[in-house]
Symmetry: C2
Subunit: 456 residues, 2 copies
């Protein structure tokens, strides 16, 4: 019988090597070209779950990428923890901005650099290794179920169907997800909310072909110019989103909630230095923490049109495009917001162009309770590992499927994340601290133990 | 002794084959990757000039792409015509919109489809073949000089130096350029003005790296959103350009000039149908013909930033870019306008981003006289070929170097263009009518004859 600390001590090398192997798969879900790599990743995870001691391990096919399932049921008298994670990753481009190849994990200053290191391979794999420890040291205090999917970065299109079709098999008492950040290694925190998401792609069409900008310029609407005007109009001069009805369902935080939130350590100068900006930006009347944690946002994720190659081309383009996503806060509804955007965008487009709005994917916002047994168990486990009580925070990110879990499986979620905001998620040089990885593995068994105790 | 019509009759096939060979070179000047093809094109033209009977043929190196020179001086008592053209072409993308490959000339419905067919390979090569006829049939009525360059589509960066260094060698009585359009095969026309050009590339930088749009969105300025706001602000609600001082040097046309201009046949419904648009667009208070022919314009030629690949990526980009060009009218100055743009764009950028404005290239506007010997000679030559008197028009395009020719060589220019606005210049499926090509070859010897006569 080893303690988790002893076990990590003696298996650290292997834990890292296995994660590196997992990180070498370019499991990019946004681009169909990586389908084969995605499938290999799923098989790899299934293999590792079996080695760790899971039963009924299965790579479940879906209309999209497969879902890896595995479980260990030791007693019907014990509570059951469902671990959710995702093995798919964001695209790696722009590649030229990576200091080392995105799919060749490299360690610098104690950090693992690779696409997916923190989001989410490094984080869900902590649970596989913690489970391995609990199995080999007779320390598994709850039943456990794993559901690791491959489409989180593209909206979990097929996970909903899978969950609805497997409610029995997925029955549990709490869903644990390690796919979020904490404040720092000195100040652990637990996220208590996730923003929802509404993601659309817009296409603005002017003339039926690219035109010579000298022969036609000035007399025919330029779709790139019109797209710029449309996007510019989506935020007013106070950076409020100018889509009618957009804020209708938003619940304003109470002053108490705001105060609690703004107590989290945040140094605006450090923040600006880290990002290399002279000024922050955002909705008038809200602090930076409130802007990301509690307010809905609208961001242009990509824009393109006309000639974007080397040198100069005097063309009046036929089309211009943008990818636009909106983050939603509790009580907003993804489908309603998508429709509001579509109606508004089509309405404000001038008659000299035609516009198309294509919804990509969405997800509902969630709030996790801070008075639940699961939250308290997570709190105590983190306090043991970090010798400091974690504080509740509101993250700005989204895990679109969580709201559906809660609806379909009737349980709440605990966001037991060990990443840091500075991990460059979705950016070049994504990283995850080796210390974060090992601390996570150390914390998880304690969570299981406390959750079993407090559930009695 | 054959007439030009007989000569065309018996050499038509070869005239087309030679043009096709010329069109097969992907001589794209905007992209350094095509440097070798550009040089091969220059050698090909030099060869053809020699075959046609030119002396002192030379491929003159420059800091950029070479200039092909050739001449035939028959007598100092005869006037000298300098033929200017360019063998470089615009990039061909978006390739997927071409019905047949851009560098594999294909004939459909009597049109030659290929990049450069009309702009300008098909048009300058008419002069080479007309020259060949005049040489072989003892019909050369003027001395002739050819100057065919390879950087017109990127601003003729090195032609100015060449002209200044060769003023003696380039001495002439008129410069003839076939690189513009006429109204139709039923209604020939002569362009009497060219717009100037100011071309810039702008870069907007927000955070020092791409960010997760959930973690940072709403709290950090998105450079794509800011770029959209900046571009949107460059035209006011009447589509006037909102750069202070932009219109200072613009001379308003007299009502007489406007009336003359608006007499040119123009059917707004046909125009809209051809372009597939429901409405035209442009500066309030001006007709479509005035907007392209007599007013300065500002067009977005390209815009890009963030994730533009397949699917969805929730990123807040670090940078966004745009290529923007302005067409200038007589009395505006390219350098002054570029500086006004730069100052204005940098001034209106908010402190949450940094902007860079990089000038690409420019050129000055010109007006060609309608009372000159050369214009009258062109008028008579066109009337002979088309059995209809050509009418003067104001084209919207630019040939940046023309103003410099007039300054350095002290002569005026005749814009003897045989293209049509519908030739898809700078667009996919660029084309040039076989009839236009042959009519051009037929017209040119008559121009030489009339120019010699009227110059006596």
């Amino acid at each position: 019988m080893q303690t988790i600390k002893e076990y990590i001590e003696s298996n650290q090398e292997r834990f890292l090597e296995e994660l590196f192997a997992l990180l070498r798969f370019p499991s990019i879900s946004a681009d169909p070209a990586y389908k084969k790599d995605v499938e290999k990743t799923a098989d790899f995870i299934a293999e590792k779950l079996k080695e760790a001691g899971a039963d009924k391990v299965e790579v479940c096919p879906t209309a999209g990428n497969p879902i890896v399932y595995g479980e260990k049921i030791i007693s019907n008298d014990l509570p059951t923890v469902l671990v959710y994670g995702h093995y798919d990753v964001q695209p790696a481009d722009p590649l030229e901005l990576w200091d080392t190849p995105p799919f060749e994990p490299t360690v610098r200053d104690g950090k693992i650099y690779a696409r997916g290191a923190a989001d989410d391979k490094g984080q869900f794999y902590m649970h596989v290794k913690a489970f391995e420890y609990m199995m080999r040291n007779d320390a598994l205090a709850c039943n456990i179920k794993f559901m690791i999917e491959g489409e989180e970065e593209v909206g979990s299109a097929n996970l909903g169907t899978f969950v609805k079709a497997n409610t029995e098999r997925l029955q549990n008492d709490v869903i644990v997800i390690s796919d979020t950040s904490m404040i720092s290694m000195e100040q652990p925190s637990l996220e208590t909310g996730l923003r929802g998401l509404s993601y659309v792609e817009v296409e603005v069409t002017g003339p039926n072909r690219d035109l010579h900008s000298g022969v036609y310029g000035g007399a025919v609407a330029n779709p790139a110019t019109i797209l710029a005007k449309l996007i510019a109009s989506l935020h007013d001069e106070n950076n409020h989103i100018a889509i009618p009805g957009f804020y209708d369902d938003v619940i304003e935080l109470s002053d108490e909630e705001k105060d609690a939130l703004n107590k989290a350590p945040f140094d605006i100068e450090e923040y600006k230095d880290d990002l290399g900006i002279a000024d922050v930006w955002g909705e008038k009347g809200y602090s930076s923490i409130e802007r990301t944690g509690t307010r809905p946002t609208l961001e242009v994720n990509g824009i393109w049109g006309g000639y974007i190659g080397e040198g100069a081309k005097t063309v009046l383009p036929s089309k211009a495009f943008a990818k636009i996503s909106m983050r939603l806060v509790p009580n907003q509804n993804s489908e309603r917001i998508t429709n509001l955007f579509k109606e508004h965008f089509e309405k404000i487009a001038p008659s000299c162009v035609t516009v198309k709005v294509k919804p990509h994917h969405g997800g509902e916002p969630v709030v996790t309770p801070t008075d639940s047994v699961a939250y308290k168990a997570a709190e105590k486990a983190l306090e043991d590992a970090f010798n400091k009580k974690p504080i509740p925070t509101r993250g700005g990110g989204s895990i679109p499927i969580v709201a559906l879990f809660e609806k379909e499986l009737g349980v709440k979620t605990v966001l037991l994340g060990f990443g840091l905001d500075s991990d460059n998620l979705h950016s070049p040089n994504e990283k995850y601290g080796i210390e974060n990885y090992l601390k996570g593995i150390e914390t998880i068994p304690a969570f299981f133990r406390y959750f079993a105790e407090l559930s009695k």
